[in-house]
Symmetry: C2
């Protein structure tokens, strides 16, 4: 007696072809390019596949075709909300499609990134999403070898490997600091943690804006390489007010730091924004709820993920997008923590 395996799929393409009365290769074509079959065979194969509950063996397909249907995604951190938001866009946009997402975590290490890229290279992915624009020459070499569309996300810059979706972190930071200057603040501090390449460029934007207004002063700057957390924001503010008690505003490298700064101000009874204005970066959901509500720079992280997948799938399907670099921009969300300074 025959043991039925309704889900484990002992059904191969050959069985489908047999039932449909065609050759295996024709059945194979049905799944890759249905329009290549005549209407009659198309229907026969379709119903045969359905009847048998055929599930293609992806490993066999990948082996024979020299390509998988995997989109590799490299991000530096899973903890950071910013990447989680982007990932959500990636998963939402790829959901239901034929490509599956394979995630890998570089932990902000170029060495890890290179290693992971080599692994992906071995899998022959259909597409690749990498974070940022600061890949090592070796990483770039591996990617150029990979023979699949690639999108760099989170930021844009010159010399895309293939495609890009993001925004200019330095422009965004420049705009945020300019906002503070317009509002009448002059002794504006910079509070930075992690200082990854994007953080670095936010600092550049801060510095340029300050220099443009002849307000730059190294004393106002405090940074650390430690991962940014809310508690760290408090610690850094403490250090900064010790070092530069005259500051009247701070631009924080991200919202976690900004929240830590706000809490530290509450603890020290520093009035926000009367004694110290605060501006964050990313506009996480809590920024609008804080007391006072915190000014931040909105970035379209979810859209970045979506757009990256859209560009990738378009390219994989043979329609590479016209615009290879997409700027999703940013928006200054002016709130209570940066009200115009009272003179």
């Amino acid at each position: 007696m025959e043991r039925k395996q309704p889900l484990s799929g002992k059904v191969r393409l050959t069985e489908v072809a047999q039932l449909a009365g065609v050759s295996p290769i024709t059945a194979s074509r049905f799944f890759r390019n249905p329009n290549a079959l005549s209407a009659g065979k198309r229907e026969r194969v379709e119903s045969a596949a359905k009847e048998l509950g055929y599930v293609p063996n992806l490993a066999a397909r990948a082996l024979a075709s020299h390509r998988s249907e995997v989109i590799g995604v490299l991000i530096p951190s899973l903890t950071n909300n910013v990447f989680a938001d982007m990932l959500r866009g990636v998963y939402d946009a790829s959901d239901g499609g034929r490509y599956s997402v394979q995630l890998a975590n570089t932990r902000y290490s170029n060495f890890q990134e290179e290693r992971l890229l080599r692994i992906f290279h071995g899998q022959k992915p259909a597409g690749l999403i990498v974070t940022g624009i600061n890949q090592t020459p070796e990483s770039r070499a591996v990617m150029r070898n990979m023979n699949c569309p690639i999108v760099q996300v989170m930021e844009i810059g010159p010399e895309p490997i293939d495609m890009m979706v993001g925004f200019s972190h330095s422009d965004a930071a420049f705009a945020a600091v300019s906002h503070l200057i317009e509002r009448g603040y002059t002794r504006i501090g910079f509070v930075g943690a992690r200082m990854d390449p994007r953080g670095q460029r936010r600092f550049d934007g801060y510095r340029d804006a300050m220099k443009a207004a002849s307000l730059f002063n190294q004393r106002y700057v405090i940074t650390t390489l430690s991962p940014s957390t809310v508690p760290l924001g408090g610690i850094l503010l403490s250090d900064l007010v010790t070092k530069a008690p005259d500051i009247d505003a701070v631009f924080c490298i991200n919202d976690d730091i900004a929240l830590g700064v706000l809490f530290e101000c509450q603890r020290r009874q520093i009035a926000v924004p009367e004694q110290l204005a605060i501006v964050g970066f990313n506009d996480l959901e809590f920024m609008g709820s804080a007391v006072p509500s915190l000014t931040s720079v909105r970035t379209n992280r979810y859209e970045m993920g979506r757009k990256a997948i859209e560009m990738l799938t378009a390219a994989m399907d043979g329609h590479p997008p016209q615009e290879r670099v997409v700027d999703l921009g940013f928006e200054i969300m002016a709130r209570g923590s940066s009200l115009p300074r009272r003179t």
Copy 2:
């Protein structure tokens, strides 16, 4: 015609074996079970692989061996920090090992969960991690069919499908509310959002603790099915104080809600904890930094992910753990927002 692709540097197992002076099958064994080789050949194969930069072709391996080296992970949300923390543990523990992680997002939908399980089923994963204990009978049936070790994470309960790592959400909530009662609070509200199965059980813990002290009052409860966010915490508190102005404490279903509640208190000039004590759940990093610092229930989310992978790999390697249900417990982190009530 030659079918060979000019794919640069295509190193196959055969090349490695040739350089090492062994047969391909021996080289193959090196990667699966190095101890099966004699010391001399083991070293030769190892250095040959390194020299050529060999990367195994996973598709070929999966096809030939009838099993993939993929661990499927099903989580309900990418936005929620709680799952991101667990995932970090998963990725950290599986990093460098032979298994790769395949993530899928159920979006809190049983239907999606079922669908994704069927897809995983077709890929013959080496192991599976699913969130929670509320799978539908259909989902459980698919999993039982899957013939691989399975770990349910985030909570524990009766009737594990295979293995479990987590803690009791109702016990944790019970302890948190008991903490408030011990500190002298009596009119304790419950602020809940999303109300997924785990949220539901936290409510159960709250209700049981209140009933045990004869303090339960439906008026003190406010819940919504909307996803929990910081702003929502503020809105819900507003509703609650309107409905029950006499409350002297709130137990929040998670820390995001708790933060929103704190901000709303600051906005309304409600003194914390003098007029209203606050307790959250999960102990996210910002809880200790807030002003006042916020009491919460620490849960070992990162450890959950790690442990799940450890149990899975142990089982896959033929050493199923003795304890099939692991309770990682919780800890009440008593802070400023729940100081003993002044009488």
